[in-house]
């Protein structure tokens, strides 16, 4: 069984940071904010680890493959 779900708020905040990271590199002030955010609780830490792993996994998908498979006719 998976671990108990983290609160939706933590997920939403992690998603906010992922959105920001995708936009442009974080400024050093933002990096500090993110670090402080991660340090708030084990939930925050665990969610952020998952988030980073998610980004890495998505990056491993070749663009063309991702586009053709996910955008396929259904």
């Amino acid at each position: 069984m998976s671990a108990p779900s983290p609160p939706d708020k933590v997920i939403a905040e992690a998603a906010y940071w992922l959105t920001k990271l995708r936009e442009q590199p974080l400024t050093s002030a933002e990096q500090q904010q993110l670090q402080a955010w991660c340090a708030r609780s084990t939930d925050h830490q665990r969610v952020w680890q998952k988030a980073l792993r998610l980004v890495q996994s998505v990056e491993k998908i070749p663009d063309k493959l991702g586009l053709l498979v996910l955008n396929r006719e259904q």
Binding site: I11, E23, A51, R53, V58, L68, N71
Partner: protein, 167 residues
Amino acid sequence: MSPSLESLYKDHHQWLRAWLYKKVGCDQCAADLAQDTFVRLLLSQQKQNKLFLEKPRAYLRTVANGLMIDHFRRRSLENAYQEMLANLPEFVVLSEEERLLIRETLEQLDVMLNSLSSRARTSFLLSQFEGLTYAQIAEQTKVSLRTVKRDMQRAFAHCLTIVWEGL
């Protein structure tokens, strides 16, 4: 099995299997999906500690229908994926392990994208697989930058929930 689920199974299993067979045209698929439907019912019963069904067949049909849609979506993803692998030479170099990871991620993204609006879906694909910036996406899809960011955030949140819960 509690008496109510047991009688539910006894009374409706054959009917559900026949209903599914009419839909999918494959006896094995129908049997599997019917089984999965009752497993789903069992799990939700454990969670809620009760099983109250006023219209059992309508309920079973709804659950079975959802499972059937998931099943076909996974199968169409699998077909598209295999076709790409066979036809795009650049993927031959991928190791078995890389392929497994890629397929798993694609499956998660597929589920996630299906729960999004088509606008959010387009933004996500353009950002992740065409490398467009949010500003470029906003321009191309004629929505505000703020909307693009909000859609992206929603998509990432869905992804995280799916990754967390497993599929």
